[in-house]
Amino acid sequence: MKESSPLNLYKFLPQTNCGECGEQTCMAFAAGLIARSRKIEECKPLFDEKNQKKYGKKLDQLKTVISPEVALVYVGAGDKQLKVGGEDVMYRHQMTFFNKPPFAYDVTDAMNEADLVERVKLIDAWKKFYIGNWETVEMVAVRSVTGDAAKFAACVKKVMENTEKPLILCSFDPKVLKAGLEVSAAKRPLIYAATKDNWKEVAQLAFDYKVPVTLSVPFDLDGLKGMAQTFAEMGIKDLVLDPGTAPNGEKLQESLQNFIKLRRAAVEEGQKDFNYPVIALPINAWMTTKDPVRGAYWESVLAATFVIRGADIMIRHSLEPHSVMPDMHLRFNIYTDPRTPVQVKPGLYKVGNPTEDSPVFLTTNFALTYYTVESDLGSNNIDSYLLAVNTDGIGVQASVAGGQITPSKIKDAFAEAGMDFEKTSHKSFILPGMAAKFSGELDDLYGYKVKALVGPEDSGRIPGWMEKQWPPKK
């Protein structure tokens, strides 16, 4: 959606201020649509079949106006369904990026069953905790290496037995794709790919099985656009574009420029006839090297390139922690909504089941810091209290330097949260190591009735600190 004025959406709403959506007025709801915090479906009267005569046309217009600049394609089915594309801006500060590009990790039909199952399980189970959430891998890409349709189908089946995650079926042979679709169509996989050679057969498959399809015309945007037009005319509109991912050399520069061109055409120029989501193939890094570290690093670098500039989905290979971890974080950082402050509500939180003997920690209400400390305590089974001091979402080190956290603010925060140290057996709390210099002043403020202990600088070292320092010596 390009629209930024609520007034221009208001005219498509019923304008009755009925309040069903929870807003007082239709104008407020329109503002919510602009902010992407509300969905049109939440205006029930607009969809009520009784009202279609009255509102039907408005609804259609509204749908057109609010549709995303990069088309949104659904891949997968049920609660594992993924949104691919749907972006509205070129740069994240202009609003936010909405749908992080799913990472599809590859398996092949040439793998023996044990290796295949092991890899699928690894993909399925991969997770890392970050800012209150678990980062996970979204998809599995099944590559046809043998070219044998039956082997491919068996492989797809085996994959599905071991994961619920949506699939990308990869082959240029329509017979192979068909065999894969026979066993997996109900899960709405993405098929890769229609090319200038096989497009008729692949179009038929996309139609018959009602699955989204990738169009692959590397390094030829005219040809890619022509194919997209042909598919759209056939009524096949759940399309993903593969403009080619060259892993090195001058072609790599061309690849990035093509991604930028496609994103700009869709988002900045509103080219509605060619605004489909785009797939990147960082896996191609492995065509340039056999060295496992070099391959993983270069793949990560390619993934970063296209996460930042214009990919909506990507196929990956390396599941090594030194590739998947940094890429997950990079994607998270780029796709974090810059409009929402990354803060938690200030106050006293319980971790596990704390008692009067449990330690009392404190940190700031910067979400990253808070959740990091909380997870370090929780995952190490340290029953405790954790105070989030209001620093306007600034981390410990910066807020100590900037004065957003001070000894008296800490004391006030404990008082406001109703913390009664008299009820603890140890009468103490633990300062972050970065705020060590506050300990003396805090002791004074509390008149030496409550002890301010100094914890480690990184909360990951709390377990070790506990072993040596807890409970505090009397």
């Binding site: 759940d238 390139t305 090594e320």
Partner: protein, 449 residues
């Protein structure tokens, strides 16, 4: 299924058909549906199963269900539909009513074009680091940064200068992550050797001498004593240099002013002037000795404007002697803020903000402060294994720097030589400067890895 349906019977019919995909959509009372014959989307498959009239109604329902957020499309493929409706209908004739799916003989030919960004009217200031003998310095060559007319690696305009790397050298041994330390252990006691190794072995474009021993809380080395190290480094290497203080706001003014004197005429990058120290003194020292002033602010675009303005207007620093450091928050540790702050600064500069169109610097070494870069294992027991930290660290520094290169950074302060090499390779590749045989990617599906 062959009989005609009244729309008011639809609810009952649908219930009998047990159409799972529409579960949750309840239709009460008499309903009016406007049926538009062209309201396609479901296609002949649907007609096949439902008969023409019902198909039309169903199309409406599907649209409604879609609007309510039901993923109906996923259920409208053969297997699911066949399971949902049993037994299969006998009447097939109606299928003809929906426009048939037709594959054309040839692909449409099309022309794709996209314009450049017309709002980018102003060039980023080009800044020369280093000065040769003829220019009043002693460097073997000079380095130019900045000068962009477009966002990095965009096709709108050629990038005139490649991003460069300056490797950190400290005036005393410091604690560092194992994956960094292993490369410098042999030179840690001699900043001159350290600088030589950075340039010769690790291909640093520049070196940064950090005078951290001057910190009153560390060794409190006097400014006069400390800057001898700068002289040593200038002797040891002939690349352009940067000079950093200890970060102590009082002491740095004295130390950096003195450093400017010994680097007279060298166009060294002086790190740094900031709003919480005497920026005017540092700015003026740079002007008086022909050095370049690094303007450091903390993740705040308006402070950056303020500092740049003050350096120009009050301290009299010329435009060609300002580089900005808007602060590098590392990957997974606030990189989103740093990235967006820099991207906004660069876009504002290109659009004509003359207080922001300067080259940018990144303290990429900050990546090593992130636990994922150095910790042996995850403190969270439920995380998937973190693997070998010796491999995790360098990629953390690579991606921290590279992300910010995409946002507009021109000069990177780095430490790990592997990270330096990758950063140089990817940024130069994206500028088209790296010639390599690109493999035929069309057969990636069957590649062996």
């Amino acid at each position: 299924m062959g009989e005609k349906l009244n729309i008011s019977d639809l609810n009952k019919q649908l219930a009998e058909m047990d159409v799972k995909s529409l579960e949750g959509v309840t239709i009460e009372g008499d309903i009016e549906l406007e049926i538009d014959a062209g309201a396609g989307g479901a296609g002949p498959l649907f007609a096949y199963y439902f008969g023409e009239e019902v198909a039309k109604v169903a199309v409406q329902l599907v649209n409604m269900a879609k609007a309510f957020g039901y993923p109906v499309e996923s259920l409208l493929q053969p297997v699911a539909v066949a399971q949902a409706i049993s037994p299969a209908p006998a009447e097939l004739a109606a299928a003809a009513a929906i426009p048939a799916f037709k594959i054309p003989d040839t692909l449409a030919s099309a022309k794709f074009s996209v314009g450049t960004d017309k709002t980018w009217k102003t060039q980023v200031q080009e800044v020369q680091l280093g000065a040769t003998k003829a220019e009043g310095g002693s460097r073997g060559h000079v380095i130019k940064i900045g000068g962009e007319k477009a966002m990095p690696f965009f096709f709108d305009a050629v990038m005139p200068n490649r991003p460069v790397v300056t490797i950190d050298v400290f005036d005393m041994p410091i604690g560092m992550a194992k994956a960094v330390k292993m490369h410098y252990e042999d030179v840690m006691n001699d900043p001159a050797d350290w600088a030589k190794k950075a340039v010769k072995e690790f291909k640093a474009d520049l070196v940064t001498t950090h005078l951290i021993s001057t910190d009153p809380l560390i060794k409190d080395t006097s400014a006069k004593e400390a800057v001898k190290v700068v002289e040593d480094v200038l002797q040891a290497v002939d690349v352009p240099i940067c000079i950093g203080g200890s970060g102590n706001p009082e002491k740095d003014v004295e130390v950096l002013s003195k450093a400017c004197e010994v680097a007279q005429g060298e166009r060294a990058l002086i790190a740094s002037a900031s709003l919480n120290l005497d920026w005017e003194a540092i700015g003026k020292a740079c002007v008086a000795t022909d050095n370049v002033c690094l303007a450091w602010t903390q993740l705040e675009i308006n402070s950056q404007k303020e500092l740049d303005r003050k350096l120009m207007k009050v301290a009299g620093v010329p435009r060609d002697s300002i580089v900005m450091d808007p602060t590098t928050a590392a990957l997974a540790y606030g990189m989103d803020f740093a990235y967006t702050n820099m991207e906004r600064i660069r876009l504002a500069g290109l659009k004509g903000d003359e207080e922001l169109n300067f080259p940018m610097s990144s303290g990429t070494t900050n990546a090593w402060g992130v636990r994922e870069a150095w910790m042996v294992n995850s403190p969270n027991k439920n995380d998937s294994p973190w693997g070998d930290r010796m491999l995790r660290g360098p990629i953390w520094e690579i991606l921290t720097g590279f992300s910010l290169a995409m946002a507009g950074v021109d000069i990177f302060m780095m430490m790990n030589p592997i990270a330096v090499a990758y950063l140089q390779e990817i940024t130069q590749s994206l500028m088209g400067l790296v010639k390599a045989q690109t493999p035929d990617t069309t057969n990636w599906i069957s590649m062996e890895v």
